[in-house]
């Protein structure tokens, strides 16, 4: 009997020791909600409709939260993750450029080739090395918490693909690719002869032919990394349409489903064979049957990485995404899942876009509630993308639709407020606000007009991307991305012509011209301010930094053509696209929000102060290079 009691006591001691090892939060808890793009002015205008945010304002605190230069989501969230400015974490845009080629590359992650492979016939089996790695410098704050034994759940953090390695439960957010490796490529299948396009930004349009009421759709998958030729994989989706009714049956890999016109499918699981019967990868997609007669119109979402069997690392621990999917069902893993591309291309109407983006939010809310219920101690971070993506398409024109999204997010905030109670600090933050996007600025065309950029033939202006007709021997500066201008620097750019000694002079002259640039239609300045990275940033990790960062005034933004290095004939034009709201402007034009259920000490908090606040709350010292101060 005594021996039994002793064994029980030892077991109890061991158990409690293990529990202490698992988390040293010592009962401390903190909740941080990241609401991408939540705008302080919109919130202030609609406090009456947003009871939970209003509650936080009245009982806690509400501040404008200063954003990063430039105010782009990957840049801003990287600052939250690392507590550094862009000069520290090294992310300056959605895209960077490779100086050797001046071609755009992802700023967030890169894939690396295997170091050793075994070739068997057409196949190439990787033996070691290879994969995908994050390009963000600095340590994620939850890695630091983890080192101090503090548990955290970091769900859908942007710019966290592949997720930072640690023991925390984390799921990658914005920046997570689809199965083709892009940020999201939809497919649209039609036999409508009026549809002549083959490619649109973010999507492909495929002509199909119905034979005896049946058509075969090829759903594109990833390039086959197991083959020497990297041949793209695909799976078949057979659609059989009813002769007269607006309904169709779909068959793929032994599964069948029926859709009526205007209906979305549930998630469809698919398997791409890499080596037949040996190796395959799994994805999930959704189908929208837009129309059956007289012409077939079918939208297929980007094929998302299947969270139950992810082809790429999307979570830590690796099986976390599987456990989550088992609990709440399959969900969008693609970083930016709202289908703005198809809306912009006129494939989806506004109401269809709203239905799709509502599905993304529904997935998100389901996961949020599940994780919030599970949350016991340590840190809980959850990110919502819907406000941002819907603001891009609805800003200033469809306020009531946008308010619905804000309301849903406000309800989720209410659940977090209830969970936090009085003893758990809660922060609700956004990375930037919003502004109208009325006029598109073709920065490369401006540079050409001002004599900084020269074409090999001045008549060859247009939408051709990637500087097709630029004469680099006569070009001093070029623009790529949404806020960046680069000097064609000798020794850095291939065939660069500006000596290092002249760089500053060129930039100062260019900065003056940019600031003086006026819209001929209004006579007002287009650019609020221009930033020199050495002055704007404290960090010196400027390898990929633009030489000048352009801060547009509200209403103006770099054109889509600028982002990918095109030189259209006009310098400015009206934005006639469905994408009507944006934030890639001067940082002080689009601040974010900071709500808390606690009083805040800081009057003008910055994004990197959030990192310091989280670490401070758990008593974890800041790392070198972190520049923020706690807001509490």
């Amino acid at each position: 009997m005594r021996a039994g009691v002793a064994c029980f006591a030892v077991a109890l001691l061991l158990t409690s020791a293990c529990a202490n090892h698992a988390t040293r939060a010592a009962g401390k808890r903190m909740i941080v909600l990241g609401i991408d793009g939540m705008d302080p002015v919109f919130v202030e205008t609609h406090f009456a409709d947003l009871p939970n945010l209003n509650f936080l304002r009245q009982r806690g605190s509400f501040r404008r939260l200063a954003t990063t230069i430039p105010p782009q989501s990957p840049v801003a969230w990287s600052s939250v993750i690392t507590g550094m400015d862009p000069g520290g974490h090294g992310i300056f845009d959605f895209v960077h450029r490779n100086p050797a080629t001046r071609m755009p590359v992802s700023s967030m992650a890169e894939t690396t080739e295997p170091t050793r492979s075994l070739g068997i016939g057409p196949y190439l089996i990787p033996l070691s090395g290879g994969g995908v790695r994050s390009l963000r410098a600095g340590r994620a704050f939850w890695q630091m918490l983890d080192e101090h034994g503090i548990r955290s759940s970091i769900i859908r953090m942007p710019a966290n693909f592949p997720p930072a390695e640690c023991e925390a439960d984390s799921l990658a957010g914005m920046g997570t690719p689809d199965m083709t490796g892009s940020f999201g490529t939809f497919s649209f299948y039609t036999d409508d002869p009026a549809e002549k396009r083959e490619k649109v930004p973010g999507g492909q349009i495929v002509r199909v032919t119905l034979r005896n009421g049946r058509a075969e759709l090829a759903i594109a998958g990833p390039p086959n990394q197991m083959r020497r030729d990297r041949h793209s994989t695909s799976v078949g989706l057979t659609v059989s349409v009813d002769p007269t009714a607006q309904t169709a049956r779909f068959d793929t890999q032994g599964r069948q489903f029926i859709l009526q016109q205007g209906e979305w499918s549930e998630w469809v699981r698919t398997e791409y064979s890499l080596i037949p019967h040996v190796n395959s990868v799994r994805g999930i997609f959704r189908v929208y049957l837009q129309q059956v007669h007289p012409y077939l119109r079918i939208y297929v979402s980007p094929v998302n990485i299947d969270p139950e069997d992810p082809a790429l690392p999307i979570s830590t621990p690796r099986d976390y995404s599987r456990n989550l999917a088992t609990a709440v069902g399959p969900f969008y893993t693609q970083g930016i899942a709202e289908e703005t591309s198809a809306f912009r291309a006129g494939i989806l109407s506004k109401s269809e876009f709203l239905v799709q983006s509502r599905k993304v939010l529904t997935d998100n809310l389901k996961m949020f509630r599940f994780e919030l219920d599970r949350f016991q101690d340590g840190l809980f971070f959850y990110y919502f993308s819907s406000v941002d993506q819907n603001s891009h398409m609805l800003w200033g024109r469809y306020d009531s639709d946008l308010l619905e999204i804000y309301r849903d997010v406000d309800r989720a905030i209410g659940q977090a407020v209830a969970k936090a109670g009085t003893d758990t600090p809660l922060l609700v933050i956004s990375d930037h606000g919003f502004a109208p996007f009325n006029r598109a600025v073709h920065l490369n065309s401006f540079l050409m007009r001002e004599g900084f950029l020269t074409l090999d033939d001045p008549t060859k202006t247009g939408d051709e991307e990637l500087f097709t007709h630029v004469d680099w021997s006569k070009t001093v500066a070029y623009a790529i991305g949404l806020n960046g201008v680069y000097v064609n620097l000798e020794g850095r750019e291939a065939g660069g012509v500006v000596p290092e000694a002249d760089k500053r002079l060129v930039l100062e002259r260019l900065a003056r011209r940019l600031v003086e640039f006026k819209d001929p239609e209004t006579g007002k300045r287009v650019i609020e301010r221009v930033y020199f990275p050495e002055e704007a940033f404290q960090g010196r990790n400027l390898k990929y930094s633009p030489d000048l960062l352009v801060g547009f005034r509200r209403g103006y933004r770099a054109s889509w053509q600028t982002a990918l290095g095109a030189v259209p004939p006009e310098v400015l034009e009206d934005n006639t696209q469905a994408w009507i709201g944006d934030h890639c402007m001067a940082a002080d034009q689009v601040p974010g929000v900071l709500f808390s259920n606690r009083p805040l000490r800081t009057a003008g908090p910055h994004l990197w102060d959030i990192t310091a606040s989280i670490l401070g709350e758990f008593g974890v010292p800041k790392a070198n290079g972190m520049i923020g101060q706690s807001v509490f």
Binding site: G213, R214, S240, D242, I258
Partner: protein, 272 residues
């Protein structure tokens, strides 16, 4: 065929009445073990046990020879030859019991599929019902009318698939069902059994018109219809888990039945 199906189903249904309250894995394990024991008994009765004993002794002798005369290539080669011959002899002797058991076991597995391969439809999840029409069907003509039990909703109009002469409906059971779907066409009526809910039960995927196809689609009587060749309900796969891992029911069946036979062979005095 229908009599045979009825006979096998009746036996299995009686067995499953007793097992339906146990978890699916337990039921399958008991069935597999019983069939394994039965197969062993049949093997013992239908095989030439004396000759099998002799052949096995020859195999053992050849193996011993190989081990002892490892340095004598000529003897080793002869021993290997005798080993192959003995093995072929063993396979020939095993052929007769296999022929005796092959057809009954195949039939049993087809019937067991209805218990262990398919699960009833999940509630509140849409499922597809498909009817294959006869060759004289005109796809543009009005489709058959489906009448579902009161606790099953038919979601939207059917899809007439001209290319494969099929008509598919989407149905949604919202409470447990064990009832018939009725299909009316040109004044005729055919029915298909439908199962939905959590409880383990006999689930027939397809009802057919062809006499021969009833062997592969047991559980329901052959359809007497001028317009339909078969009716199929797309049931989900049954979930069989062992220690949290998904396991194919057939793999588990084979493992348990073989293990049972191996465990019981001495007790029943059967040489395998």
């Amino acid at each position: 065929m229908e009599m045979l199906n009825w006979f096998i189903d009746s036996i299995l249904l009686v067995v499953h009445v007793f097992l339906s309250f146990a978890p699916r894995l337990v039921g399958l394990t008991i069935v597999a073990a019983s069939i394994g024991a039965g197969m062993l008994w049949v093997f013992g009765r239908t095989s030439d046990q004396e000759r099998m004993k002799q052949v096995k002794r020859r195999v053992q002798a050849s193996l011993l020879e190989l081990r002892v005369f490892v340095d004598e290539p000529a003897i080793s080669l002869r021993a290997q030859g005798r080993l192959i011959a003995a093995n072929l002899n063993y396979l020939a002797l095993a052929l007769r019991p296999m022929l005796w058991m092959g057809v009954p076991i195949a039939l049993l597995l087809i019937h067991l599929e209805a218990f262990y391969e398919r699960a009833p439809l999940a509630l509140a999840e849409p499922a597809l019902v498909t009817m294959r029409m006869t060759a004289d069907w005109i796809p543009s003509a009005p489709p058959p009318v489906l009448i579902a039990p009161s606790n099953v909703t038919i979601l939207g109009p059917p899809v007439r698939v001209a290319a494969s002469r099929e008509v598919s409906w989407r149905i949604l059971p919202y409470s447990p069902v064990s009832d018939r779907l009725l299909f009316r066409y040109n004044g005729q009526e055919v029915a298909k059994w439908l199962e939905a809910g959590d409880r383990q039960r006999y689930v027939t995927g397809r009802r057919v018109r062809s006499r021969w196809e009833t062997i592969l689609s047991p559980g329901e009587t052959r359809m007497r219809s001028d317009f339909a060749e078969w009716i199929d309900v797309r049931y989900p796969s049954a979930d069989l888990r062992i220690f949290g891992f998904h396991v194919n029911w057939l793999a588990w069946f084979l493992i348990v039945s073989m293990a049972t036979a191996l465990l019981l062979k001495k007790r029943l005095g059967v040489v395998l």
